[in-house]
């Protein structure tokens, strides 16, 4: 391979640029994926980053340091920066330097591979507090119940722990997947889903059983979860982001496994069922009456002899759940997410307490194979109506955004788009209830907001799925984990101030596989503060690799 044709460029800060339209793109991508995190994937050049965590993730799968460097050298267009090679070796050297194994009498043995490192970590006051006894400069013993806190403390000082203690099996549960779902559809795990399950399970040994599966929205993370449950055959606790997602999990489990409704508990604000498979929300777990009161429902984590705990959308895992997770390190733990990036930067906590990334597949690959839908994003820019411009100019910054977001011309555009997509299932998503009410009324479409009861929400979702309702207007309550299989058009009329997560989740609503190309419209007011936030969203979506088109609508188009 000629150097100019080589697809990757390794930067001095450890980021990797991967040029997509090169002959060796796919091989290079597969080669670097195990040890580099995908940061963004715009159309031409994808950016990955090598971090200590990504190196430890790779090391935990058994990859060798030389392999990493060899892969980089093979596909790199330019010489590797020496600093990067040094940092890889340094990070790699840290993994496995500290091993955690089972000891006697409810203790754990910490083995340290060098006296120098032993001195370094045992001189840390927080680590010192865990030590029961020590064998000078080689190993020391800690109580079994501090396993999580010990690992968490070590990661803070830059050392991952090779946790080989193993897991409690949990109470046995007979759990099997159906070949034909109750809905009548043929059911089976796709190849990448099977791979994800196997990677996580790792033959049932101590090397597996903890970790995070990274799959794009619509790629079937729920199915992977069920695959793991089928391996574990044990009582399982599933933590989700909201009630709609809980219901979604319940209906999926009933549809695709031999569990009955009686086997599945819903532990939410409405119901408090604790059953062999219990599904709850982060919100209920972290609920407390006052700021200083205890978390009333956190005991759920220990209410049964769970053998597996699953964290859906693990990138939004709240801090109290992290803390609770430190106490249940003897349980198998699986995180499901579309992105490892946390807005709060707590990726290290995720690594140490839930586990390393154990499977990742780029969405583009799934899109090419037809497992998720192809999507195009459109930004439609509108002028202000005459009077609104004056109101906008005279308003404060915060009000300005709202004035622009609620531009009445948007109603006309939404109507026009819906006419253009006649017959397709369409979601209209917005931030401001008054605006949504206005649009819902104009379109004669149902509206789901925070005040809509869960029963009504489920009913509307069901009608939308069945095609009885062609257009559904939703507020931000629909951002997370609802499954609307046939939505192929989403129209965003207003949003929060450029949140990346919100944008990803909204887009995720139309990514379920389908024959037609999905369309995601953002309607914004031109030359306003809304356009600035729209620009941030534009950048984010472009970073995800979506085609982003901009259309300017003039007064003439609107009258």
């Amino acid at each position: 391979m000629d150097n100019a044709d080589k697809p990757i460029i390794v930067q001095s800060d450890g980021s990797i640029l991967l040029e997509v339209q090169t002959p060796a793109y796919e091989q290079a991508r597969d080669a670097i994926l195990p040890f580099a995190e995908l940061i963004k994937s715009p159309e031409y050049v994808h950016t990955y980053r090598i971090t200590p965590l990504s190196i430890w993730n790779a090391a935990s799968t058994g990859m060798k340091c030389d392999e990493i460097i060899e892969h980089l050298e093979r596909y790199s267009r330019y010489d590797l920066p020496p600093g990067v090679v040094y940092r890889i070796k340094d990070a790699f050297g840290r993994f496995g330097a500290i091993r955690l194994t089972k000891g006697d009498n409810n203790t754990l043995v910490v083995e340290v591979n060098s006296p120098h490192l032993f001195d370094e970590i045992t001189s840390n006051s927080r680590i010192k507090a865990f030590i029961l006894k020590s064998d000078p400069r080689k190993r020391f013993v800690i109580p079994a119940d501090v396993r999580g806190r010990f690992k968490h403390t070590l990661i803070k000082i830059g050392y991952p722990v090779d946790d080989l203690v193993g897991y409690e099996p949990g109470e046995a549960l007979s759990f099997y997947l159906r070949d034909v779902a109750i809905s009548g559809k043929i059911f089976g795990l796709r190849q990448y889903q099977t791979e994800a399950v196997e990677q996580f399970w790792a033959g049932g040994g101590p090397r597996g059983g903890q970790g995070i599966i990274v799959l794009p929205c619509g790629a079937g993370k729920t199915i992977v979860g069920m695959g793991v449950m089928a391996k574990a055959q044990t009582y399982t606790l599933i933590l989700c982001t909201n009630v709609a997602a809980v219901h979604q999990w319940i209906s999926e489990l009933i549809d695709k496994t031999f569990l009955t409704r009686e086997d599945i508990g819903e532990y939410t604000g409405i119901k408090k069922e604790i059953r062999p498979v219990t599904i709850t929300t982060y919100q209920i777990l972290t609920y407390r009456k006052s700021k200083n009161a205890p978390f009333e429902h956190m005991n759920l984590m220990r209410a049964k002899d769970w053998g597996l705990i699953m964290y859906d959308e693990v990138h939004v895992l709240p801090a109290p759940v992290f803390r609770a997770t430190t106490e249940i390190q003897a349980k198998r733990r699986m995180g499901l997410t579309a992105t490892l990036i946390r807005e709060d930067g707590l990726e290290g906590d995720t690594f140490s307490l839930i586990g390393p990334k154990c499977y990742d597949v780029p969405w583009k690959e799934l899109e090419q194979k037809g497992f998720i839908a192809e999507a195009i994003c459109y930004e439609i820019r509108l002028p202000f109506p005459q009077g609104k411009k004056i109101e906008y100019d005279n308003a404060t910054d915060r009000v300005r955004f709202r004035v622009a977001a609620e531009n009445p011309y948007k109603d006309i555009v939404v109507k026009k788009i819906i006419e253009d997509h006649h017959g397709e299932p369409i979601l209209v998503i917005g931030q401001y209830i008054n605006q949504l009410k206005r649009i819902a009324s104009l379109l004669k479409a149902p509206l789901i907001t925070g005040s809509t009861t869960n029963y009504k929400r489920d009913k509307l979702y069901q009608s939308f799925r069945q095609g009885d309702i062609p257009v559904l207007v939703v507020s931000k309550v629909a951002n997370f984990a609802i499954d609307l299989p046939d939505a192929s058009v989403a129209i965003q009329v207003s949003g929060t101030f450029g949140s990346r997560q919100e944008e990803a989740q909204r887009l995720g609503r139309i990514l379920r596989p389908k024959k037609r190309i999905s369309k995601f419209y953002s309607v914004v007011t031109a030359h306003s503060s809304e356009e600035i936030f729209a620009h941030k969203r534009q950048i984010f979506l472009a970073e995800q690799g979506y085609k982003y088109m901009i259309e300017d609508w003039a007064y003439e188009n609107l009258h």
């Binding site: 460029i9 390794v10 930067q11 001095s12 800060d13 640029l17 040029e19 339209q21 963004k40 715009p42 159309e43 031409y44 050049v45 330019y78 920066p81 600093g83 930004e379 820019r381 031109a526 030359h527 356009e531 620009h535 534009q538 950048i539 472009a542 970073e543 085609k547 982003y548 088109m549 901009i550 300017d552």
Partner: protein
């Protein structure tokens, strides 16, 4: 070499020819015969073949020093081995290969000019490689990082002290963005020296003319500039190196020695010349001015450098630069380090640098587009530029977003114009002129000359402002190319006291040793040949004497001796004896 063999022989005092020829050739011959023998190539080759290695090294050093060198310089070169030098030179002097002017022993050392062509051949043969050489494709200095720094300064709006020194914050920004890949202070001050970075109202600004000059002239011109800059302080060093290597190859150790000699000759006070030479060669290799073979033994000029130094034409093959880059739909521009510097510089006018690295990342922002517009870019120009440099079609959202920003800017204009100021001009000037203020009329540049002529005819003298000069001068690279070989003959040494084979004429030592020489001769009953001034004229004459008695009078030592030349006894003031001839020990 400033002296010819004939001049050299002519400088030998006639009365010494006998003595010298008998010492060198073993027989007393005429001056003509002595000259013929000294020039005899076969004899010289034979002598050279039989020289001790250390003597040969001294001779070759002398050759590299141009055949003539001041004693102090030569002694400085051999500063830790002056005795070895003296011994070697004495042996060479006895063979008539090296001479020295005057009697003091501290004057110029001269190599026999006839040796030049022979040693030239030896040196050339030594610098012929045995077989084909494999050359390293080493690093070559480029202006990529300079362009990056200028683009950082463009988008960074850095304040500075007088003297173009950025504040700590500025250094921190430059270091933060460029520190991983560049020696920030060096590049910064190079740009200041080249005139690319200037100070304007306590802000750092880029001089567009110089910056573009740097980008247009490219990497090779920059490398040559660095090469010439590195030679500053040592007159003619760059020319010496170029003359020495030229199109050919040279042994690295040979080059080191020659440069060492050159430095010692031109900067005698330079300490640690060895280290300086080593640093210079490493620098030139790093710059890509010189190339090295894979074994690190041989060195040559880079082909393009050699051509540029010889012809003055600095041409870089187009294929050296990438001409296309990737513009991402995220508004990012990815610029590899081998991208065309002119286009790279232009990118900095319309995009902000976010990361400088192997591939640098720029982002097109609203502010950067505004900056571009202020610098004379228009929407069409931006579009065309991006279309031309982009490897792929520029994404729709990028083009539309830029268009949106450009359209959102409100414009005000500052116009340059020519105005005629004339009090009570109405009636005297054409009614078509537009009076913009009382007595001030705007006139078009095209009609300016006509109006001046017309007013002149009416007896009104028109004062015009001085012609304005273009303040954006191009880059000044200092020494121009091609390198011109030095043809100045240099100062010719004058040898009033004559030239003698090295070591044959020695000055008298100071102190007690001075009288001891005569006492020893008295004790041994031997003769001495002394150089003694004639009474009254100061002219030196040679005297063959047999010392008899030493005495002291009025604080001075005198020697009473029998003079073989006059056949009489004479008294000589020992302090006035200039030197004495030293016989070769038989």
């Amino acid at each position: 070499m400033k002296i010819s063999t004939n001049e050299l022989i002519a400088s030998l005092p006639a009365y010494m020819v006998d003595l010298i020829s008998s010492q060198i050739l073993g027989e007393s011959v005429s001056a003509k015969r002595l000259a013929e023998s000294l020039c005899d190539t076969n004899r010289l080759r034979r002598l050279l073949d039989n020289l001790k290695p250390e003597d040969k090294a001294i001779l070759i050093d002398l050759y590299e020093l141009g055949g003539e060198v001041n004693w102090s310089v030569f002694a400085g070169i051999y500063q830790h081995e002056v005795d070895v030098l003296k011994t070697g030179l004495t042996r060479l002097g006895e063979s008539g290969l090296v001479f020295q002017g005057g009697f003091t022993g501290r004057e110029v050392i001269i190599m026999l000019p006839s040796l030049f062509s022979i040693i030239n051949g030896i040196v050339a043969a030594n610098n012929l490689p045995d077989g084909d050489l494999v050359w390293q494709k080493g690093h070559r200095a480029d202006i990529h990082k300079h362009i990056l720094m200028m683009n950082v300064i463009r988008s960074g709006r850095l304040r500075c002290r007088s003297g173009t020194e950025p504040y700590k914050k500025g250094w921190s920004l430059l270091g933060g963005l460029l520190g991983l890949i560049a020696d920030v202070p060096r590049i910064y001050w190079e740009l200041v020296e080249l005139g690319c970075i200037e100070e304007e109202n306590n802000m750092l600004v880029i001089n567009s003319g110089c910056a573009m000059g740097l980008a247009l002239d490219g990497d090779l011109r920059y490398r040559i500039w660095r090469f010439i800059e590195s030679c500053k302080g040592v007159t003619g060093l760059e020319t010496e190196v170029f003359t020495l290597i030229g199109d050919g190859v040279i042994l690295r150790k040979w080059l080191s020695r020659v440069l060492f000699l050159y430095l010692k000759q031109h900067c005698p006070r330079l300490l640690d010349a060895d280290a300086k030479v080593s640093d210079l060669i490493s620098l030139w290799l790093d710059l890509g001015i010189l190339e090295e073979d894979t074994k690190g033994e041989w060195i040559r000029f880079g082909k393009d450098t050699c051509t540029a130094l010889r012809t003055g034409k600095v041409e870089i093959p187009l294929e050296e630069y990438q001409e296309e880059i990737i513009i991402q739909p995220t508004m990012e521009i990815l610029v590899p380090m081998d991208f065309d510097p002119v286009d790279h510089l232009n990118i900095g006018e319309i995009a902000d640098i976010e990361k400088a690295d192997t591939v640098s990342i720029y982002r097109i922002t609203k502010a950067s587009v505004l900056r571009g517009l202020k610098n004379g870019w228009a929407l069409g120009k931006i579009r065309n530029f991006l279309d031309r440099i982009s490897k792929h079609t520029v994404a729709d959202n990028v083009a539309k977003t830029i268009k949106g920003w450009v359209e959102a800017f409100r414009h005000a204009y500052i116009i340059k114009g020519t105005f005629l100021v004339i009090k009570g001009g109405k009636g005297r000037i054409s009614g078509e002129l537009e009076e913009v203020l009382p007595d001030i009329y705007r006139i078009s540049d095209k009609r300016k000359d006509d109006i001046i002529t017309s007013l002149d005819k009416k007896g009104i003298m028109v004062n015009t402002p001085d012609a304005s000069f273009d303040t954006e001068a191009g880059i000044d690279w200092g020494k121009s190319l091609p390198l011109r070989l030095s043809v100045q003959p240099g100062e010719k040494y004058v040898y009033p006291d004559g030239i003698y084979p090295y070591g044959m004429v020695i000055s008298l030592p100071y102190g007690a040793e001075r009288t001891e020489i005569f006492q020893q001769a008295i004790d041994a009953g031997s003769q001495l040949i002394i150089f003694y001034p004639k009474k009254g004229y100061g002219e030196i004459q040679m005297k063959r004497i047999a010392p008899v008695y030493i005495y002291r009078q009025a604080g001075n030592f005198f020697v009473e001796a029998f003079c073989e030349d006059t056949g009489e006894g004479e008294v000589f003031d020992i302090n006035k004896i200039k030197a004495m001839f030293r016989y070769k020990p038989s």
